[in-house]
Symmetry: C2
Subunit: 152 residues, 2 copies
Amino acid sequence: MKRNINEYISGYVDGEGCFSVSFSKRDKFTLGWETKPSFSVSQNEDRSETLFAMQKIFKSGFMRRDISDKTLKYEVRSLNDLITKVIPHFDTYPLLSSKQKDFKLFKTICLLMKKDKHKNKKGLQKIVTLACKMNPGGKRKYSREDILKTLR
Amino acid sequence: MKRNINEYISGYVDGEGCFSVSFSKRDKFTLGWETKPSFSVSQNEDRSETLFAMQKIFKSGFMRRDISDKTLKYEVRSLNDLITKVIPHFDTYPLLSSKQKDFKLFKTICLLMKKDKHKNKKGLQKIVTLACKMNPGGKRKYSREDILKTLR
């Protein structure tokens, strides 16, 4: 039987994947903050075959080894790869859990970034607000307020 | 587009699922040990939609809430359901990671149990040995030696 690896990947990502947008303080950026979207999936190294299958399918991203907990992380950070390769996959094979909400916010932010909206104050305020609605269970280095009050 | 939920489920389980066979000391059992196969998938309660989809597809199993870490666990323990519903799914849509090795050992054990092999000493010795090859990263309450030396 011919496998439908695309559906398989969406199922895998629904369990193990993470769409996130983080912000780093960077003096050289006009507004003082860098906006960093990321799609990542971690797995124990001894069963990381699916991560390599994803890298092949998405034709983008890189692997990073976390020695502390013996996991491998597959990550796509390039905005162009996210928009042309990762996002179209999940448009066609949407997540079935509420993680789909995070994907939708992620997509919105990536498309705003493609229009350089993160490079003006109003646009970045909007992006920060959207990003802070994602992954409500996770922890953020900077709160929405931390970032908004220090935008230059 | 019509979704292929079966592939999706296999991808999800490749990341989040667990095939295991545990053993409990039980005086009322002839050999002194009960053999308990289990297929389970855990997820944060706030995105447990996929677990309910699985319960519907497999037409078996139950949900259990773990209050301590706010997860929900979907589990199938009935040998008959495992053999007639769960195992055929993963025969048709195999896992792509090395977790497939655990599935194959699990299937072998379930089929041995169906032939009541766990009810005689030699059969149970074989099953214990196979079970202890599964999920090498996980912890067991009893080691292979603990069980084998106390078989009646």
